[in-house]
């Protein structure tokens, strides 16, 4: 009886409280909640619902951009009519036209820039909550090295890009617009050259940032993924050969646990990807519509005799292109990381 009691005490002392690990993606932020589909089992279907909901909310932006388009064409037409009057002092007409276009587009450009910054911040904040979940799930599935490398890489690039956009690139976009307005109003070539330099700088940074990130992912994916796969294989072999009689069963059970962890990780990944898409799609489409309308206005104004006005509209559309690039890269960065986490080990 005493032995039994001692045995019970020892067993009790050795008991470790355990529970099933749960990997769920964090809730979508408020601004993305309206776009989230009720069911998130299938990624394709969910994404389509997110896109449809975003398109439904786009109507006011389309009419606003359409109105801006008409206003711009009216100004260009006005400038081209006034320029037909044959005097040698026509410079003032284009000068006034450029200022008018600048005043008209500055407010909408400002709100688009703010929307892009907010989206990048939201994506970055969500990534900070979501990626640790995916990294944990990946680690639970046996991908310790790859999850650490992927998580570290994504977080570093996310931080660098977020900082670069808010501290460096947004001011550059404003400078680009200011130089465009001044250059087109004055017809000064030097200002246009500086503007082109800024354009090149922003494009170069965005492109190469993404190249470096995808390059980093490929290298770490190959190296650490192969290491994790080898480690897992070795562990399974050790269990099945070292433990007599039940070794094979234990090894198979561990496989089932890994598959379960993988399924949870994929469910969290799909929800997370849909949330990322829901945060990103609405501002991206809004900026996209503005970009498209400005491109159309620029093309129509180019047909009229208002070259400086048309060039200024093109500059504003290029600035919208920068914003599309910035938000797009941030979204792609998170989506690629999530897909890499979901890909699993090996």
């Amino acid at each position: 009886m005493r032995r039994v009691l001692i045995l019970l005490v020892i067993i009790h002392a050795l008991l470790v409280p355990v529970s099933a690990m749960e990997f769920t993606a964090p809730e979508a932020p408020d601004e993305a909640q309206d776009l989230m589909p009720p069911q998130t089992e299938t990624f394709g279907e969910g994404l389509w619902k997110v896109i449809s909901a975003a398109i439904d909310k786009l109507q006011p932006q389309i009419s606003k951009s359409g109105k801006t388009c008409i206003m711009l064409i009216s100004v260009a037409l006005l400038v081209s009519i006034l320029q037909q009057i044959p005097t040698e002092k026509n410079g003032i007409v284009e000068f006034a036209g450029c200022i008018a276009v600048g005043v008209m587009l500055l407010d909408s450009a400002g709100s688009m820039i703010q929307a892009a910054v907010d989206t990048i911040n939201s994506l970055s904040e969500y990534g900070k909550m979501f990626l640790p979940v995916m990294a944990g799930a990946q680690a639970a599935q046996g991908g310790l090295a790859s999850s650490a490398a992927l998580y570290t890489g994504t977080m570093v690039f996310d931080a660098i890009l977020g900082k670069a956009v808010s501290v460096w690139m947004i001011p550059l976009v404003y400078m680009y617009l200011a130089l465009s307005v001044a250059g087109c109003a004055m017809g000064e070539d030097l200002l246009k050259r500086i503007r082109d330099l800024i354009k090149w700088l922003i494009t170069w940074c965005l492109k190469n940032g993404l190249y470096i990130f995808t390059g980093y992912l490929s290298i770490t994916g190959v190296v650490s993924g192969a290491t994790d796969a080898a480690k897992l294989k070795a562990a399974k072999l050790t269990i099945s050969s070292a433990v007599p009689v039940v070794g094979g069963i234990l090894s198979d059970a561990s496989e089932a646990v890994l598959v379960g962890a993988g399924m949870m990780k994929n469910a969290a990944g799909i929800y997370g990807m849909l949330t990322i898409a829901a945060i990103w799609i609405s501002p991206f489409l809004q900026i996209g519509i503005q970009y498209l309308m400005l491109k159309i206005s620029g093309a129509l104004c180019a047909m009229l005799d208002a070259k400086r006005v048309s060039s200024l509209i093109d500059s504003f559309s290029t600035a919208m292109g920068f914003l599309l690039g910035m938000t797009g890269i941030m979204c792609i960065l998170l989506l690629i990381s999530t897909v890499c986490f979901m890909k699993g080990v090996g």
Binding site: S74, T87, K89, I92, F95, V103, Y174, A178
Partner: protein, 131 residues
Amino acid sequence: MSSFFQVAGGVLLSVILGLTLSKYGKDFSVVLILLVSCMVLAVMAAYLEPIIDFVGELLRLSELQNELLTPVLKATAIGIVAEIASLICTDSGNAALGKSIQLLAVAVILWLALPLLRSLLELMQRMLGNI
């Protein structure tokens, strides 16, 4: 449209008349050119009326502020008047006076453009203020 051909014919006739009158005295020819130019401007004003209405419609569509357009319209009008006055002066052998009128027009147009320059400066400040 027919009045354009009438005016063009009238102008050509006045040129011939001016050449004939210049034999008797240059003053007659200058006065004739002045009169014909004023008549042409009056006909032009009649044609410009619907264009000004259209410009007004464009203004309504583009929701432009008056401060941006008024100097442009005034500058255009000053440019036209200065151009014609300068050419008349040159034709009558007073090229220096013609040039002076041109310079005066440039100064007045620059003065008129001051509010536009201020708008440009404000725009720059607003843009650069966001940095």
